[in-house]
């Protein structure tokens, strides 16, 4: 078996926003799933000293056969969130109206993303794990996503993975690059982007 991640080691401080860059198949999602505790690493440990979100991936964590409302109820119960206030904010943000009562599997990708994001924003965490935020919804909603995320994660920690550095440059204080299973951490986002571009050039990928 080929290891996906080799000797990856880093820590995230309270309030720190770390961006992880990597191209498709570099193991970004695997890394964030291991941090979030969805998967277990083959070896090594993850120490969590903050409350940590599930990997917010615009669709993970919600069940297709349940309606939007039932998914919200489920998450409220698990994370001990008041349902009524959560419902209000989800309805307001997702603008799904009566679709909230339909099963998720009937939703379009954009609707699903709106709902998943709205639900995840109802729970307070010290650290948010964000997997590939880049655009599923239309322009107006992308603006809304960004605004809400900024608002919510202000003064909190974020670990964000993306293959596109525009988002990372916008949000993060520090950045790391995941390439061939090896994670290189940079203090300065600019250096990380430079290094990322050089790894992309080797593979003949340009943006």
């Amino acid at each position: 078996m080929k290891p996906v991640l080799k000797n990856v080691s880093f820590s995230v401080q309270r309030g720190e926003k770390l961006g992880i860059l990597g191209c498709n198949g570099a193991g970004k999602s695997t890394l964030i799933r291991i941090i979030g505790g969805v998967e277990n690493p083959t070896s090594g440990t993850v120490t969590r000293e903050m409350s940590m979100s599930w990997p917010l991936a615009f669709q993970g964590g919600i069940v297709g056969s349940l309606s939007g409302i039932d998914n919200l109820r489920f998450i409220c119960r698990i994370y001990n969130v008041d349902y009524q206030t959560a419902l209000k904010s989800v309805e307001e943000f997702s603008e799904l109206g009566s679709y909230m009562y339909e099963p998720i599997k009937t939703y379009s990708a954009g609707m699903r993303a709106r709902l998943a994001f709205a639900i995840s924003m109802t729970v307070d965490f010290d650290c948010y794990l964000i997997d590939e935020i880049s655009a599923v919804g239309d322009k107006r909603f992308n603006e809304k996503f960004k605004e809400r995320l900024m608002d919510k994660t202000h003064n909190r920690s974020v670990v964000m993975v993306s293959h596109f550095y525009g988002v990372i440059r916008e949000y993060c204080d520090t950045a790391a690059v995941l390439n061939s299973g090896i994670l290189t951490v940079f203090d300065d986002v600019k250096d990380a982007i430079e290094y990322y571009e050089s790894t992309l050039k080797v593979k003949n990928i340009t943006f």
Partner: protein, 263 residues
């Protein structure tokens, strides 16, 4: 960070399980009462049909009350098969929930199995009004029926855990479940009494715990009319072994993660 104490873990566990149970009830009944009604009616219809078939052949039964015979055998057969068939898709439909760190594989399994236990038990209760319609006589030993039913549920719990884990672990898991379910037609003793089998072969039939359970329930229903062969101790030992295997497989599944069969 929150202090992790036994009490806070217990509260978390309770929250997760109750959320999962509600989720399973919706999955089972489709949110309107009809789904539930159908679930209840299925075994009822089967027992009636099976009873009619056996009544047609009544002369080949020696001193065995036919409806009671069908009821005891079919209930246990149906419960085992129901458990196995319903656990098959438990991972496929709930995998997204594993995104939440607090939700573990074992929680998902247990929630589903608890619902299965309730459904099968409720349908058993639905059958017992037959006493009042005079279709069956008042049971010989009601506590024995309840005891045997508890052992059946324990057995079904373990077998479900094994079946559910095997589906998650191996590609042949679904086929394994279908075969296991079909196999229970033979190994639950729904269609025979141990007493009818020549004694040299009876020992082979008594290898299977559910043959014991069926005999036990029949002892409770009409034990004064026929001789039954069973050992509660044997069922308990078998159940402990099966539960151990089930928990071990589930643990392995939780560590390895379910195989992705969607491609």
């Amino acid at each position: 960070m929150q202090q992790i104490t036994f009490l806070s873990s217990l509260q978390l566990q309770q929250r997760v399980l109750s959320a999962l149970l509600r989720r399973e009830i919706i999955a089972l009944t489709g949110k309107n009462g009809m789904g539930f009604l159908m679930l209840m009616l299925e075994p009822f219809v089967f027992v009636v049909v099976l009873g009619l078939v056996f009544i047609l052949r009544a002369d080949s039964f020696k001193n065995v009350p036919i409806v009671e015979f069908c009821l005891s055998g079919y209930c246990i057969l149906w419960a085992c098969r129901f458990h196995i068939m319903k656990i098959m898709n438990v991972i496929a439909v709930n995998q997204a929930l594993l995104y939440h760190r607090y939700v573990k594989m074992i929680d998902i399994m247990i929630a589903r199995i608890i619902i299965q236990c309730f459904t099968t038990t409720l349908s058993l209760f639905l059958l017992f009004p037959l006493v009042f319609f005079g279709a069956i006589t008042y049971p010989n030993d009601p506590p024995l029926i309840i005891f045997s039913w508890i052992l059946v549920q324990w057995y079904a719990f373990s077998v479900s855990l094994i079946a559910g884990s095997v589906v998650g672990l191996y590609k042949f898991g679904l086929k394994f479940c279908l075969i296991l379910g079909a196999f229970h037609v033979v190994i639950t003793g729904a269609f025979f009494m141990v007493d009818w089998i020549p004694s040299t072969y009876a020992d082979y039939a008594l290898i299977f715990p559910m043959v014991h359970a069926t005999e036990m329930m029949r002892d409770g229903l009409f034990g004064n009319m026929v001789s039954t062969h069973y050992s509660a101790f044997y069922i308990i030992c078998g159940n402990i072994l099966l539960t151990y295997i089930g928990l071990a497989l589930c643990r392995q599944l939780a560590q390895r993660g379910p195989i992705d069969d969607s491609y």
